[in-house]
């Protein structure tokens, strides 16, 4: 493929309805590029959970996706409250979301575990009061 392809998205933290639009766009791009359904699904679900997290926990942020010959990298960056205990946040079922988020179908504490499950590499860099950067990579072939 040569030069890596880069996609940049602003994720609006004010609008729950539009959360996930960037992930839908990425899925469409990957389909146009001819990636397998398996790769498209893994990338888009991992990114979608991350995008939802930025909206419900961090007032939005940015998403950067890089497609190279060997991997797809997703970097989600926000200036939200940060995560005090990342290890705990990674546990299935752990959530600080309130009931109104749950009423929207999210906040089951499965987002970060899902992101780990669907990616080959997950790293969370977070500082309380500063923000969170989540990096995920999916290996190609």
């Amino acid at each position: 493929m040569g030069e890596p392809l880069k996609f940049h998205f602003e994720v609006d933290g004010e609008n729950f309805s539009s959360a996930g639009e960037a992930s839908v766009m990425v899925k469409k791009k990957l389909r146009q590029l001819g990636f397998s359904p398996e790769i498209m699904r893994r990338v888009s679900i991992a990114m979608y959970e991350g995008e939802i997290n930025m909206v419900i926990h961090a007032d939005g942020g940015t998403a950067d996706v890089t497609v190279s010959d060997t991997e797809i990298e997703i970097v989600l960056k926000d200036k939200g409250p940060g995560i005090a205990d990342v290890e705990r946040a990674m546990q299935e079922g752990y959530s600080t979301a309130c009931d109104n988020i749950r009423a929207l179908g999210f906040g089951a504490g499965m987002g970060l575990p899902n992101m780990k499950k669907y990616s080959d590499y997950l790293h969370i860099d977070s500082e309380v009061g500063v923000g969170t950067t989540v990096t995920m990579r999916i290996n190609l072939n």
Binding site: G20, I45, G105, M110, N114
Partner: protein, 119 residues
Amino acid sequence: MKICEIQNLLNATMLCGEENLEHEVYSACCSDMMSDVLAYVKDQGVLVTGLINPQVIRTASMMDMACVVFVRSKAPTDEMVDLAEKCGIVLMKSDMRAYEACGHLFAAGLRGNAGGTHG
């Protein structure tokens, strides 16, 4: 099972995607928690849900689902219908409750496991 059979079994009203009524689906799932659908579902073609917001359609689209059935007489918003049309997803609504709707589908042979043609 064809999507039109689901419509008949659930006495459902079509909301969009009529052109895909002959499409075959092999299994289904039921949830109001989209995180759970994203976590546990594998290759289920149909989502039965009582939840109304655009994330239902995005979740179905991420999971490559062909059809969403809204139960308990809940109707999706125009925004959701537009989104589903763009994603090529069939939407329908039924007056049945989730338990009842799933019971009908299961009894007619639409199972919860992927590749449900084998039972």
